[in-house]
């Protein structure tokens, strides 16, 4: 058996590179896709939604209602309009036109004046708990809203707490969602583009019939696989730098840690995706199967990595599953280096799981690369 040959590797590499260059659609996607996703997600995803549509129902005109509504509007969470009746409220909630309905009970003014502590019922559409969570929490601070209009006896008694908490929001003091999303987006976009493209690489040769020829020639599997991967490392880096550049310019993404360190770590992450893609490509019989395998891993890497939902909020088994994916670790590295200014020492615990994953998957790919047609 002949060993690795640089000349053969370079031959396949040159061929792959020409093919990448000749495929303008894919090339355009490589640039357009990350930019589009960055703007889409950067502007669209907001985990602290404001201005939620709210309906107001009241039995009769009330002198306190105006103050209460103003106080709710001032929290920024509620956009309130008055409803004509129960039917409209029900319809609004069912149609999704309203997320909240505020019910001011009959005799509200009198009950407040008498100190009867009446209840204002909030109907909330809880199909998406995270959409209404912050808004509902803000209500707790509004029970003293009427104090200025009320006689001393029925005002809320200001309790003097024995101690208090102060939250110091570090790394992202304004708690901007976008600063959390952009680093995640770098990882997700890299996963989509590099995983999918390499997933198709070998099945494409199989489907076009060129595999028969490639196998009849004296190239070694390792040469073919490396040559198929290298162009996409370049492409992956291009995408990562593009996203970071735009994020820094448009979304004021801070770059607190070392760029060099980040680029090295991203290289490993890209390699892990390419290795996985190649494995799918060698196992799959055709492009359709290959795509399905890639999609199958894509969803958990969105959901379990901490990109969409906080990692800490997941049950332990889900966290274990999440730890398997390179995205999970890459996400922590990118957030850590960009936002926290983490150095080598802090990211090593995240690097080795990616390295181990890459190695394991590369072994499977080499092992399952068939040198014959059967």
């Amino acid at each position: 058996m002949n060993g690795f040959s640089w000349r053969r590797f370079l031959a396949v590499l040159r061929k792959e590179w020409i093919q990448v260059r000749r495929d303008p659609f894919t090339l355009r996607m490589i640039i357009v896709l990350p930019v589009l996703q960055l703007f889409l997600f950067g502007y669209a995803i907001n985990t602290d939604p404001k201005h939620l549509p709210t309906g107001l129902l009241m039995a009769e005109h009330s002198k306190y209602e105006r103050t209460l509504v103003a106080a709710m509007q001032n929290t920024g969470y509620y956009d309130i309009r008055t409803l004509t009746g129960e039917a409209e409220a029900e319809r609004g909630l069912a149609d999704g036109e309203l997320l909240f309905v505020v019910n001011i009970p009959p005799g509200f003014d009198r009950a407040v004046d008498r100190g009867e502590q009446p209840t204002v019922l909030m109907d909330a559409d809880a199909t998406d708990p995270s959409a209404i969570g912050n808004a509902a929490a803000a209500l707790a601070g509004l029970t003293d809203a009427l104090d200025r209009d009320l006689p001393q006896t029925v005002r809320s008694t200001p309790a003097v707490p024995p101690f208090q908490f102060a939250v110091h929001a570090r790394y992202n003091p304004e708690q901007l969602t976008v600063l959390n999303i952009v680093p995640g987006l770098i990882c997700i976009v890299l996963t989509i583009s590099t995983l999918f493209i390499t997933t198709l690489s070998i099945t494409r040769e199989r489907e076009r019939g060129t595999m028969e020829n490639l196998l009849a020639m004296p190239v070694r599997p390792i040469e073919v696989m490396l040559a198929k991967v290298v162009p996409y490392i370049v492409i992956g880096y291009t995408q990562a730098l593009l996203i970071m550049g735009i994020a820094a310019a448009v979304f004021d993404l801070p770059i607190r840690g070392s760029m060099v360190l980040l680029i090295l770590a991203l290289g490993l992450f890209i390699a892990s995706n390419l290795a996985l893609g190649l494995t799918f490509s060698t196992i799959a019989r055709n492009q359709m199967q290959a795509i399905q395998m890639a999609q199958f891993t894509l969803l958990p890497s969105f959901l379990l990595s901490g990109f969409m939902f906080p990692f800490a909020g997941m049950p332990v088994w889900a966290q274990w599953a999440g730890e398997l994916f390179p995205v999970t670790h890459a996400l922590r590295i990118v957030r850590g280096v960009l936002l926290k200014g983490n150095g080598m020492a802090q990211i090593v615990p995240e690097l080795w799981p990616i390295a181990a994953f890459t190695l394991a998957v590369a072994v499977i790919a080499t092992w399952s690369y068939r040198e014959t047609l059967d």
């Binding site: 000349r7 061929k15 495929d23 060129t210 196998l215 020639m217 004296p218 059967d374």
Partner: protein, 307 residues
């Protein structure tokens, strides 16, 4: 079997699932020979060629090509064989020259550019060198494929239907090239469905149901078939052919220009059929079976079709 044989395989077997595709095939091809590989669609020609160059593993049997074991030495064998696949399998998005350059560098040839230029000249591809392979017409694709598989100067060529879809003149040129190369000592195994091509082979092997049912020089195969052909001219030939075709002992009755040909294995049965025919009186005489008659005869055997 002697060491002279470039292809020397015995009892090759290959099955896909429950279906036996190659069933105990034994083939010997001497150095410098052009061996034609014939047989119905699905008779196992492509599968056999793939086994010969190590692309698929035989389920049973084995042997050598160029003195190398087709299973154990598959990777060394590949460097010395030129295999032209039945389906065009070069890169559509690379130009002719780029495809050839790729092949040359994968074989690690010295003086890559010089060799590519030489083969482009020899195959008359000069005018198409910078055209994308996917945009070439069928015939030019075949030329590119042939150029690519002789680029590394193999000692054995396996050509799987190299002239399918190629016009008559180009086919003639193709075969002139193959004869030139055989003259230089190259051994060629070439599959084809064309009779005129079969007649240009030094030897032919006819495959049916995954085994060789007839082989030898085209003359020998034609004469050795035992087929009797009777021909007649004049009269209403189409009507005669239609009526005779249905009679016992007549394998085929076909009109060729101004003559009708009757074929069968049993002369007496043919004569009985003629006697029973009640149409115009025709004058019958013997003609020597041609290769085509023999193949049609073989194809119409119970196991001669696609099995």
């Amino acid at each position: 079997m002697t060491a002279e044989l470039v292809i020397d395989v015995r009892d090759l077997r290959k099955r896909y699932g429950a279906r036996v595709v190659v069933d105990g095939l034994t083939l010997g091809v001497a150095a410098g020979e052009i061996c034609g590989f014939l047989g119905a669609n699905g008779s196992g020609k492509t599968t056999t060629m793939r086994m010969l160059c190590g692309l698929i593993k035989p389920d049973g049997g084995g042997g050598t090509c160029l003195g190398l074991d087709i299973v154990r030495d598959a990777s060394r064998l590949r460097r010395q064989i030129g295999y032209m696949t039945q389906r065009f399998s070069f890169y559509d998005d690379l130009t002719t020259a780029e495809n050839l350059d790729f092949v040359a560098s994968v074989y690690e040839l010295s003086d890559r550019r010089g060799r590519v230029r030489a083969i482009v000249e020899r195959m008359g591809l000069a005018g198409r060198a910078d055209q994308l392979a996917g945009e070439l017409s069928g015939g030019w694709k075949q030329r590119l494929a042939l150029a690519a598989c002789v680029l590394h100067e193999p000692k054995l060529l396996l050509l799987d239907e190299p002239t399918a879809g190629v016009d008559a003149k180009a086919r003639r040129e193709f075969w002139d090239l193959i004869h030139d190369m055989a003259g230089d000592g190259l051994t060629v195994l070439v599959s084809t469905h064309y009779m005129d091509e079969a007649e240009r082979c030094g030897r032919i092997a006819y495959l049916s149901g995954g085994r060789i049912v007839a082989q030898g020089s085209p003359d020998v195969v034609a004469r050795g078939s035992g087929l009797v052909i009777l021909a007649a001219t004049g009269g209403d030939l189409d009507r005669a052919a239609r009526a005779l075709r249905r009679m016992a002992g007549v394998e085929s009755a076909a009109v060729f220009g101004s003559a009708v040909h009757l074929a069968g294995m049993d002369r007496a049965a043919l004569e009985r059929a003629i006697a029973a025919y009640d149409g115009d009186a025709l004058i019958w005489h013997d003609v020597a079976p041609r290769l085509e008659d023999v193949f049609i005869h073989l194809l119409s055997q119970p196991d001669g079709g696609a099995s």
